[in-house]
Symmetry: C3
């Protein structure tokens, strides 16, 4: 019997199945520092314990996306080792801040399957939940991927397509306990723009660009214990390129968005997202945002803002061609909710 | 109104103006470990809690230069985003060790302005102070930069040139509370040479060289939240090169200086410094030092030594040509005070 | 007198001599996070405090190999600065887990010398011991290196060749206090294979590969304060290549061995090892293992497994040619004992 795991194939997933992912991870101040070395992250709440305390939190939480990457990374051996494509995200919610010292693990429930008409692959939907050492959920999201069949003669399963929300309803967003932006220090945060200053439809060019290096995206991806070969092994693809983990692009774009969205302090919802084109070392990543929606929250001084975040190697504010397809320079089109002082 | 900050231009600075820089940063054991991964740092006091305790400190402080970089990094969006050149440093003093867990922020006072005769730019002098979470100053220094004018028709300001000391007077150096080198363990520190063994005028070739990589200088520069585009964006300069943050060269040279100056444990004064030529990935950085001065201190067993630290891609002990200009291989000429066991 | 250390030459070593190596190092959660960024490390015991507690330990220890690298790095300036080759390891034992916050230092005793017949170099055997802040040994191993003579006219010393064990006797392996695998969670650990499932002679292809970058191996090697020029200075070798620290290859291969040996949680013995061929940036490192031996231990639920770990840039399961020499694609042939749930 082979000791090496080959990963699951399409026919191995059934709706209702719960997969408990391996290798829990204690995240610490070390992960926090590395996050700031790997991305130009400057949002004050994840940078300063003093700033976080002035906003009602006990300390600076781990960056929301670092928590996402750790939870996501654990699912890779079970969900996407044989994936052909990462198709989408929906219904993502951050449920509790992750603090240095917390231990995270992940569980996924299969909520949908649909075999492709070619009979060689299919789409699998999973709802993944990240849990801390007290079994409290810290994050949940739905993700769907296209997975190869291992046994082409396996019968097609009954199609189950989950009914997913277009966007997380703002009333369902979870505000971290104690968060209070009523005494928010805009000077220390870096920009004067408050929730009320942003208008739906407004677009923001985040101006800065970062040229990506192999060593950096591999260090990041390893830190989240994401093991997909294609990120690390230059002999894996015929073109000799290492495909960069899509989450690296998400974190890079989010960090770049500080310049214009310095006060979008915490990510609390993930409405959707597409990794529009692959990213490779040598690409210079830029970012722009569009305000999609706004909502009030019950927390003092805290508003919610729904943002499209686009990572691109080209010019801002262009997304798709006349054919409705993403332009080749667009890397990421992400739709998320963040919290901002009103 | 644009949400993106364009940075200050020459006409935006007036003597007396105080700028409170954004994004405080809690530095931790994670930053400490990264400092040792990015630079070949081996000075025992910043390496070992046990060694630091034997020298009267409660624990190993964050490397002095890491503290400098964090304080400096915060000033970049306000002071040097539109800078043409970083011209000099003076009157730098480390006032209090920075401990893992401290939160640092920065403030700068404009202390001089002088418009250039071309009317397109000018020199701005600022005195920057780093403060911890208790508002205690941990570091101060003067820096001057050449900044572009944004509005060429803005009138030239009255010239104010600050009167700066050639070197920090040794009596003004601040010795960390409790520091005591009377029981100093030269064996554990790595070299037998004490303060008394160094002579003014003596030069030391630090022998080792490090070839610089893009991923490393970008990780370092991001960790200090220094956002200057030119360090990260390969499309920014016409030659496609990323200019390496001058502080990366300072830290590299200082770490290399262990070999010959292992007992110059703490930096306490910055008398001056010039980034003589730009550094790029692929350069192999070497370092040499010259003893410029020595002074006694009131702390038990502690002497002060004033050192010139030169980073170069060439041979040691050459600095300037017959024309009085730095040779092209010289990257850095730094003048600092360090503490050493007598 | 030159302030720069030239390192020891062959004639500077005498059997019985004890060298106390410089620069103690406090290792922290920062080192732990960096280890996981530099290597695809996923063994659960070094990843999760919660998992470690469920196995009877107070917390997740620093990876055994990180402890090894720190102890080893300290010996470089005294043992291998003028080494021509790193010839072998023997009688290695991990004696106590290293916890974040521990301060490590190293001592070596010279246990053998043998001048080569060419009169230009010789072999030196040292037994190195790593000690924590309480002077408790955490690790010991024998290593032998070929060292150049500094003074070719120095007389050849009397040959002393230590009598070294072919392998550490399993009864001499030290199990960490409290370790108990009787409630081991194979699901969280990532693989179902227990000690009883492995057979002597069995080989395992670990499948994954990692392409190595300059920035990564230099960050790792610096983090262990290993100062050998050849790893950092691209001008040092005539071919302009930086030789990768052999320990980097060890850690890479061990991390890759998760896939098939996820339950070989702790390394407790080092029986031998050869750095068969040099490794350079751009190489894609793969790994395979062979089960060499198995032994019971007195700890509850804990078995010992002796493994050959081979790092290669080629195909698995081939090691040496007809001439008995390592094939050029083989980088490492390591022989170690690990602990596994029975």
């Amino acid at each position: 019997m082979s000791k090496t795991a080959a990963g699951r194939f399409f026919e191995d997933y059934q709706p209702g199945q719960v997969i408990r992912h391996a290798v829990p991870r204690t995240v610490t101040l070390g992960e926090r520092a590395l996050y700031h070395a790997l991305y130009p992250a400057r949002h004050a709440l994840a940078s300063s314990d003093a700033f976080a305390r002035a906003c009602g939190l006990p300390a600076s939480p781990l960056d929301d996306l670092a928590a996402f990457h750790v939870v996501f990374g654990k699912t890779v051996p079970d969900v996407s080792l044989n994936a052909v494509a990462n198709l989408g995200y929906a219904e993502g919610r951050w449920l509790k801040p992750v603090w240095p010292g917390d231990t995270l693990r992940s569980e996924s429930e299969v909520i949908g399957v649909k075999e492709n008409s070619n009979g060689k692959s299919g789409v699998v939907w999973v709802r993944t939940r990240g849990l801390n050492q007290n079994d409290e959920p810290v994050l949940e999201y739905v993700r769907w991927v296209m997975v190869r069949k291992g046994n082409l003669s396996a019968p097609a399963p009954e199609t189950v397509i989950p009914d997913l929300a277009k966007a997380v309803d703002p009333s369902a967003l979870v505000i971290p306990d104690g968060l209070d932006f009523s005494g928010y220090d805009f000077g220390l945060a870096g920009e004067p723009h408050r929730w009320g200053d942003y208008e739906v439809g407004e677009t923001i060019d985040h101006v800065d660009g970062v040229t990506i290096e192999e060593a950096e995206h591999m260090m990041a991806t390893r830190l989240w214990q994401n093991t997909a070969k294609v990120h690390f092994d230059a002999t894996y693809r015929p073109d000799g390129k290492r495909l960069i983990y899509g989450g690296h692009v998400i974190s890079m774009a989010r960090a770049l968005s500080f310049n214009g969205l310095a006060n979008a302090q915490l990510i609390v919802g993930l409405n959707g997202g597409a990794h529009a084109n692959p990213c490779f070392a040598g690409d210079t990543v830029r970012a722009w945002s569009e305000v999609l929606d706004k909502a009030e929250t019950p927390a003092p001084g805290v508003g919610a803002i729904r943002l499209r975040l686009v990572a691109t190697t080209g010019a801002p504010f262009v997304l798709k061609g006349d054919d409705g397809k993403y332009l080749p320079e667009v890397l990421l089109d992400l739709d998320y909710w963040a919290l901002m002082p009103v």
